[in-house]
């Protein structure tokens, strides 16, 4: 199923204040990482509906990354707690439908952690490369 031209399609949904700023900092620092993740920005990781993540997978995503502020550091006090709770639910749901939950990652990257952002992306892309294309793509054919 994996062909020569297969490149993972991964979407990162980031909060504006910590992770998006951290990703910007990685850019300023010219930290090089694999180019396979696209970004959608929301104000808070609490905004991220579990259905957004499932929609990604339904659309054939090979991987999804959600990243917010560290606990206790949320720009909106506790939005990231509430978002994270939902994201762990998504992970459980993925397991129960037989979709490898390593395809979905929730991370916490602060606005000062540019280097960490590079590591997170590298790690996510490596994981997805190991897992190969999403089985849902086959299903969608």
């Amino acid at each position: 199923m994996a062909d020569e031209t297969w490149k993972p399609k991964i979407l990162g949904i980031l909060c504006n204040w910590c992770s998006y700023a951290g990703a910007d900092l990685a850019g300023g620092g010219r930290i090089q990482y694999p180019p396979d993740v696209r970004i959608v920005r929301v104000m808070c990781s609490g905004r991220i509906d579990a259905l957004f993540v499932l929609k990604c997978f339904a659309d054939g995503a090979d991987g999804v990354l959600v990243s917010g502020c560290h606990f206790g550091d949320c720009h909106y006090l506790e939005g990231n707690f509430k978002g994270a709770k939902r994201m762990f639910m998504v992970k459980r749901l993925m397991k129960s439908i037989g979709l490898d939950d390593r395809r979905f990652r929730m991370t916490f990257v602060s606005a000062s952690e540019g280097a960490k952002w590079g590591k997170v992306i590298t790690d996510v892309v490596t994981t997805i490369n190991e897992l190969g294309p999403s089985p849902i793509k086959e299903f969608n054919k």
Partner: protein, 716 residues
């Protein structure tokens, strides 16, 4: 995997096409999501007549910043193939005046309904392009940005092909959102004509003085009984050798006297609610046990209250170390730190007070002492706030190899300041703590805990230790004839105005500089002298130096309560705990929380001139919204789509700001948003099981369109 990599590009292309065609059909499968994607028509926003979106895409070269790693022409050609895109253009610098003119002109000529700029981060230039969009005659919120610099060109510098593909995707995602964006109007709120400064060290005092001088009522909150902060503990200041207290006390007196400053010492910030312009802050007035004169008068004690006479102090039977003197001088359970405190008010240390009542008797008719006083809570409303929470010394005893707190004659730089200070515990006679003798050989250990990646210490440079250690060396030459000083250093960082000249002066005075980090310090148990072991990296030989006193120039770290305070105000910190500025270069006093600013060392190590500059900068920034009188808030608030709301009330509990409530409407319960309280995080919208919450500018259909645009190739 390798043998499977045979299918050609064609196949992928074919697959893409296939998916594109399927897309609209497939969307019917997830029922709830489908319902949400259709929302715009039903949303309680006036969108005007439904017109087919006309999107203009503008791609920035940013010199070679972007064009060096991304094929701009290819991205532009691709953009023209995207749905709703009627205009695509590129320019060297879109943020320049001619670049912005391209946007405004295109909006008018092409009758655009939305604009997309593919350039740097929206955190940098979103306001610029929103303004340009507005000047073109569109609502500024009909603009969307594709970040192809920070999150693309700069991080994929050596893979132009992949970076170009990523840029195309980013533009496609942005176009998908731009075609669904709506007109929004920023909320305008009035700004309370008052400010708050937390921390009354030199930074906080300077900020408060500036705000007060600008005619703004300022609440200056200080956790300890007196203002002055760390600077009041210092003896001299480099490189001018001004007496620290002499230049500080006039400011302290000014603060105490200014009619616009409400000084609140021995107080903590308890809670913060609200937003820029309208912060409701609750302050805990810790029970001092002593009434000030106005407080006494309010209680009907005529002519009473503490006048600082000090009659209570001698009768107090409890003796404790004075933290102001780094524990090297005693104080009583009822105390002032030093004679120049502002305000001149005694304070009771409840942890050590035995409530014998002798002080009450000594105070007599003034009736200033209240042993039963309780903490009080005061609420104030301010428009802006400045955090100036300062620093503590790194607990250098953690570096056990240097023997601090094990060997009596190893002291920190702050203890040295008190020992050499004329108003200190020894009246300025530098002594060895072990025997009270005057030291004849003194070693200074620089970078003690700073620039230390070994795990225990701090990785950063504490910035002012080099200079004060040079000053310390000068001070002992001044006070002790025939003394020898040895400075163990890694690099001498004398970067400020007249600092390098000061360094030469100290060299000329005879200080010996040994380049090498001190490996360990051992005490001779008989003489209590210390052996300093280091490697002289210039002469490449080991050093064993016997000295009488060792001064550790300990690293600095954020004040112990900084973390608690910053969380109350919603300010982030970097990994080492220093408060995070909005932009490290262009907005060093601002934070990501609108209306909250930072000043002084809490942002990162600074010497006094830099601290004062940053305080004045923060004061200026904090006064702008107050003088303007009103601020615009981004209209990202939540709205209820009432026909979808089932009135379950889950969102009400989720809201961090209590902005949502259930109300009765047409005989059923629906959610209602208090716009003034909503900050637009979207935590409610991310949860609502019925998809009944519309988040302005980050609405579910808009986000789903972005997701679909990426995975399904733009067809919706």
């Amino acid at each position: 995997m390798a043998e499977k990599k045979k299918a050609s590009t064609k196949k992928t292309e074919a697959k893409k096409q296939e998916v594109k065609h399927e897309a609209p059909v497939k969307q019917e499968a997830p029922v709830k999501m489908e319902a949400k994607t259709q929302a715009p028509a039903k949303v309680p926003v006036t969108t005007g007549p439904k017109v087919k979106p006309r999107i203009g895409v503008f791609i920035c070269h940013c010199g070679t910043n972007i064009a060096g790693s991304i094929d701009i022409k290819a991205v532009e050609a691709y953009a023209k193939t995207l749905p709703y895109v009627v205009h695509a253009d590129n320019y060297q610098y879109i943020c320049s005046t001619p670049g912005q003119k391209k946007i405004t002109d295109a909006i008018k000529e092409q009758k655009l309904t939305g604009t997309v700029v593919a350039a740097c981060s929206p955190r940098l230039h979103e306001p610029t392009f929103r303004t340009a969009t507005k000047e073109g005659g569109l609502n500024p919120f009909r603009f969307e940005m594709a970040n192809i610099r920070e999150q693309n060109a700069w991080v994929h510098m050596h893979d132009k092909e992949a970076a170009t593909e990523k840029a195309k995707d980013a533009v496609r995602i942005a176009v998908a959102k731009a075609s669904l964006l709506q007109d929004l109007t920023p909320k305008t709120v009035s700004v309370e004509k008052a400010a708050m400064v937390v921390g009354a060290g030199i930074a906080g005092m300077q900020a408060a003085l500036d705000l007060a001088a600008a005619g703004i009522k300022t609440y200056l909150i200080e956790k300890s009984p007196s203002i002055g902060g760390r600077m009041s503990q210092l003896d001299k200041t480099f490189p001018t050798l001004d007496c620290s207290q002499c230049i500080l006390t006039p400011k302290m007196v000014d603060v105490g006297r200014s009619p616009n400053i409400e000084l609140m010492t021995y107080c903590d910030v308890e809670s913060v609610e609200g937003f820029i312009g309208n912060f409701d802050v609750t302050i805990r007035k810790k029970a001092r046990g002593v009434l000030s004169m106005p407080e006494a008068e309010a209680k009907g004690i005529v002519g009473g209250g503490c006048n600082g006479c000090g009659d209570c102090e001698p009768v107090c039977p409890v003796i404790k170390p004075n933290p102001f003197e780094m524990g090297m001088k005693p104080r009583k359970a009822i105390y002032i730190y030093h004679p120049q405190v502002v305000p001149l008010l005694y304070t009771i240390d409840w942890d050590s007070c035995v409530k014998c009542g002798l002080c009450v008797t000594a105070c007599g008719e003034k009736k200033a002492i209240d042993l039963e006083q309780k903490d009080e809570f005061v609420k104030v409303k301010v428009g802006t706030a400045i955090l100036a929470t300062g620093f503590d010394l790194f607990p250098i005893e953690k570096k056990t190899e240097w023997g601090y707190k094990t060997y009596e004659n190893v002291v920190t730089s702050l203890e040295f300041e008190r020992l050499i200070c004329a108003s200190g515990p020894t009246s300025g006679h530098l002594i060895r703590p072990s025997d009270g003798e005057t030291p004849k050989r003194v070693a200074f250990v620089l970078c003690a805990g700073s620039r230390d990646n070994a795990g225990i210490g701090k990785p950063y440079c504490s910035r002012f230790c080099c200079m004060y250690s040079l000053k310390h060396a000068h001070q002992i030459y001044e006070k002790i004839p025939g003394v020898a000083s040895y400075l163990f250093y890694m690099d001498i960082r004398s970067f400020g105005k007249m600092y390098e000249e000061f360094y030469y002066r100290i060299q000329d005075e005879g200080a010996k500089f040994i380049r090498g980090r001190v490996a360990n310090i051992l005490e001779d148990p008989a003489t209590k002298n210390l052996h300093v072991y280091a490697d002289d990296t210039l002469l490449n030989r080991p050093v064993d130096m016997e000295v009488d006193l060792v001064v550790l120039a300990a690293a600095v770290q954020p004040g112990w309560d900084t973390d608690r305070t910053r969380k109350l105000f919603g300010v982030s910190c970097s990994s080492d705990g220093w408060l995070l500025e909005a932009h490290p270069k262009l907005n060093p006093c601002g934070t990501t929380t609108a209306g909250v600013f930072i000043a002084g060392v809490c942002q990162g190590p600074k010497d006094i001139p830099d601290t004062v500059s940053s305080a004045e900068g923060a004061a200026s920034a904090a006064s702008i919204p107050i003088h303007k009188g009103e601020v615009e808030l981004e209209p990202y608030f939540a709205m209820c789509i009432e026909e979808k709301c089932a009135g379950c009330g889950m969102c009400v509990n989720l809201c961090p700001y209590s902005a949502l409530a259930l109300v009765e409407k047409d005989g059923r319960k629906v959610m209602e948003v208090t716009e003034a309280k909503c900050k637009g995080c979207g935590t409610c919208g991310g949860f609502c099981p019925g998809g009944a919450i519309w988040m302005n500018h980050f609405a579910t259909p808009q986000i789903v369109a972005q997701i679909d645009a990426f995975f399904l190739g733009g067809e919706r």
